[in-house]
């Protein structure tokens, strides 16, 4: 489907924020092309041992649900209410004040009231009331309780896949109710009856088998990294090593596989490799742990744990001291908030100490995994790398805080410190659109597929417009970020809304400026574009 060709920004920007004339429980979901994702393919569900693999599409009338699907969902809800305090609490305490409503990029971009986080939550809350509260059992509709019907399930599917789990609503909620948590649990429930999307389940299945989302096999990873090393040599005259599955390395480096695979991620990968080469780091990539990203996060908590296990397992097998993680958004939510609890303790690793500066990364002393922006910021601060920021003078840069590092970690200053040291033209976007208030790319949480194009462009509109503002006021032409999904999805988003802006990783920007020992005179940046202004 090429919904992309039919759409144009002028149409999409006229958004109707008037709610429909019919109340929300009596407004059925409309699976309009361009606003939903294809179903998970049976082979992927089977590979992962997930229930109800079958051929179906969300636009079908019959979703081929198991006969006792209601029991499965309700038992699943009960189970999760008993396991997650967050779930029970968030079902009970929302007062519907609406502070979250216009914080959601999908609501801003679509005007669909069911994309107000409060109402997206009510989709589940209404069923909770009906089956798990006395008032709901007694008074039903009067207190906003609903029976669990196929229409309700379809509504869940549609709207829990119009939430990128970005947590922006949670920042503004007076009780910290987190729609990301509700969406995660909602998607878990959908998974119990085999309702998921292929753009999540296929990467998850690939990741389980080959270690990375894209299904790249060991030889392929080696070829890609060698190819990237060739490009580095072409631009800099320096040949860097490609350490892979190397026992005895000090550090295991885990990046999102998107960075090996396609532009503009590959330029970020060049940046990692150039930096590690220049400081003489004894590190290794791994083909088995060839993915930091974790599409389990968009499937179920159990899947997060299953997919993330390989990182510690590989660190142990290779005998490294500790781990560095690359620029990836949701990967860092997993590492910061789940990894140690799920896959730890990492007592076989040692407390991370930078071999170059001697800095002890105390904030990672249990998990033993350091964000590359933390690692690099320390190198710059201690003066261990030489930089020529003028090599980025052809760029006017702004920075997009990725949702997860911002709101599930708080990694805000490190990337800015790097950017400020490696380029001379850095311009922040409006305050309400950065840091903890950052706006999503509109296509995280597994929604970055082609068939969902219209909804992606709608969801990304607020971010795009914030970029557009600094393009007009400051001539910005580059959008830097620390997330591989961003590098892919912001690229489409910019092409649609602000075509003059290209997307890059922070370590690409760094590597442009990095003075390497024995390098030739640089006339181009990593992309082969001329440095002259």
């Amino acid at each position: 489907m090429s919904s992309a060709s039919k759409l144009n920004p002028d149409d999409l920007i006229s958004i109707n924020y008037r709610p429909p004339e019919t109340s929300w429980p009596s407004t059925p979901v409309d699976f309009r092309p361009g606003t939903w994702s294809y179903s998970g393919a049976a082979k992927n569900l089977s590979y992962l041992g997930l229930p109800n693999p079958r051929a179906w599409q969300p636009s079908d009338q019959d979703w081929k649900l198991p006969e006792n699907w209601q029991d499965i969902i309700l038992t699943g809800m009960k189970d999760r209410l008993d396991k997650y305090r967050s779930f029970r609490l968030f079902m009970d305490i929302c007062v519907r004040c609406g502070a979250c409503a216009d914080k959601c990029h999908f609501y801003m971009g679509s005007g669909d009231p069911k994309n107000m986080p409060v109402l997206r939550g009510e989709l589940l809350r209404s069923v909770y009331r009906r089956y798990f509260t006395t008032a709901g059992k007694l008074f039903g509709k009067l207190v906003g309780a609903r029976d669990l019907t196929e229409d309700v399930l379809k509504e869940w599917f549609y709207y829990f896949h119009q939430c990128t789990e970005c947590r922006r609503c949670s920042v503004f909620c007076p009780y910290g109710i987190d729609q990301a948590e509700i969406t995660m649990l909602g998607r878990e429930l959908l998974n119990l009856v085999g309702c998921n999307i292929n753009w999540v389940i296929e990467p998850a299945a690939n990741c389980f088998r080959t270690g990375n989302h894209l299904g790249i096999q060991p030889g392929g990873i080696k070829d890609m990294l060698e190819f990237i090393a060739d490009d580095i040599e072409d631009r800099t005259g320096v040949r860097v090593n490609v350490p892979l599955n190397k026992k005895g390395a000090d550090i295991l480096f885990v990046a999102p596989s998107g960075d090996f695979f396609a532009d503009p991620g590959t330029y970020t990968c060049m940046g990692y490799m150039m930096l590690f080469h220049e400081i003489g780091l004894n590190y290794t990539f791994s083909t088995y742990a060839s993915e930091g990203g974790n599409f389990g996060l968009f499937t179920s908590h159990e899947m997060v744990k299953r997919l993330n296990a390989k990182i510690y397992a590989e660190a142990k097998r290779l005998g490294v001291k500790w781990i560095i993680g690359g620029e990836c958004g949701h990967m860092w939510r997993v590492i910061n908030q789940y990894m140690d609890t799920m896959n730890g303790p990492a007592d076989f690793l040692s407390e991370p100490v930078s071999p170059v500066t001697g800095t002890r990364f105390e904030n990672a002393r249990a998990t033993k995994m350091v964000h590359i922006a933390e690692f690099t910021a320390d190198l710059i601060k201690q003066g261990k790398i030489r930089l020529d920021p003028r090599r980025n003078d052809h760029l006017r840069v702004t920075f997009h805080d990725s949702c997860n590092p911002a709101r599930a970690m708080g990694l805000l200053e490190e990337p800015r410190y790097i950017i400020n040291n490696v380029c001379n033209n850095f311009q922040e976007m409006a305050e309400d659109t950065i840091r903890e208030k950052t706006l999503c790319c509109g296509a995280g949480a597994g929604l970055g597929n082609e068939e969902n194009f219209e909804m992606r462009m709608r969801g990304g509109m607020p971010r795009a417009m914030a970029v557009k503002k600094v393009v007009e006021s400051h001539g910005v032409n580059r959008l830097a970020c620390i997330c591989a999904i961003d590098r892919a999805t912001l690229t489409s988003l910019m092409d649609f809304w602000v075509p003059q802006v290209k997307v890059m990783g922070v370590h690409e920007l760094l590597a442009n400026a990095l003075i390497m020992t024995g390098e030739k005179e640089r006339t181009t940046d990593l992309r082969g574009e001329s440095l002259s202004i």
Binding site: D92, L119, P174, T341
Partner: protein, 336 residues
């Protein structure tokens, strides 16, 4: 049903419920059976409140917090030279306490509120503190009103309470003096209700109980003001009644107006309904895992009490599948 009609219906139902609640004590009063209201009902209401409240808290407490999931709203603790935000992104319990304090007493997160508007085809984010202001006014004035009522519960009246009442009635606007907290409460309830009705998307999400909660509290405040300013109730008799409850020897008060009985019944109903309503956000905020946990997962291990082993794809399985390809690519293998 059209939305306009639905809103009228919902708020109508809420209003009728409040009127029914008013009718019950009025009928009892007319029949001369107030004694039920003033002797048995206080205990039933309190028992329902305490039991329901405790039950709900225990239910929440019974569900563990498997993962540490604070929503971070500021810079993490990382390198020593990077300025952290110890309150919005706490790394330890002191920060968490401060964060919770600001959240509970000053509605920190609501203070961040913005209003998005499309301006020349571009979203702009204006700051809007109305909801924060009236929300805070509502809760604080309600607290003052409740504290002032403590004078009915102790003999002699606690000094702090007398002082609070004196401060609250500082302007001595009329006789008896009009309390500022009463005015504030009425103003805040009016705003919160008007907001729910005036803003279309908000109207769209409102349930009957959202209108009902505000109307009930407004009705409690209204009847309370009535018994103070329009048809003053015999304070001595009321106090004797309350002291009677406290000494478990309830007495039927004499010469108490019907409006006062309605006021009393509203309060009893509110108590009994509280644990089953969204008003449980009051204790709930204390337990909210996105707010009451430190962002220190990489520093200190958090245990999931129901953790269980899962099926993983081991390196051995991986190498078994790809061994030949790995060898062909010159990658080291564990087993030849």
């Amino acid at each position: 049903m059209g939305m306009a009609l639905k809103t009228v219906k919902d708020i109508g139902i809420a209003l009728i419920l409040v009127l029914i609640l008013a009718a019950l004590p009025a009928v009892l009063s007319a029949l001369g059976r107030e004694i039920l209201l003033t002797t048995i009902l206080p205990y039933i209401a309190l028992a329902l409140f305490l039991a329901g409240f405790l039950w709900r808290i225990l239910l929440w407490a019974k569900s563990p917090v498997p993962f540490r999931i604070p929503a971070t709203c500021g810079q993490e603790k990382s390198l020593p030279w990077i300025k952290t935000n110890p309150v919005e992104n706490p790394a330890g319990s002191m920060g968490v306490i401060l964060r919770m304090f600001l959240e509970i007493f000053f509605f920190r997160s609501l203070f961040r509120n913005t209003k998005m508007e499309m301006n020349s085809q571009r979203p702009v984010y204006g700051s809007t503190q109305w909801l924060w202001f009236f929300g805070l006014l509502f809760h604080w004035s309600l607290l003052v009103v409740i504290l002032r009522h403590l004078r009915f519960f102790t003999e002699p009246v606690l000094q702090g309470i007398e002082g609070l009442a004196a401060l609250d009635g500082f302007f001595a606007l009329a006789i008896p003096t009009i309390y500022l907290s009463d005015l504030a409460l009425i103003a805040a309830v009016t705003f919160l209700l008007a907001r729910r009705l005036a803003v279309a998307p908000l109207r769209y999400i409102c349930l009957v109980q959202d209108y009902f909660a505000l109307l009930l509290i407004a009705a409690i405040a209204g009847t309370g003001l009535w018994t103070r300013h329009i048809q003053p109730v015999d304070i001595v008799a009321v106090k004797a009644m309350v002291m009677g409850w406290l000494s478990f020897s309830p007495v039927a008060p004499q010469g108490i107006s019907t409006v006062f009985m309605i006021h009393l019944f509203f309060v009893f109903f509110l108590l009994a309904w509280f644990p089953h309503s969204k008003l449980m956000h009051a204790p709930g905020i204390f337990l909210s895992p996105t707010r009451n946990l430190a962002n220190n997962n990489r520093m200190a291990r958090h245990i999931n009490p129901w953790d269980y082993p899962v099926e993983v794809h081991t390196y051995a399985q991986y190498e078994d599948e790809f061994r030949d390809k790995m060898k062909a690519a010159g990658l080291p293998v564990e087993k030849e």
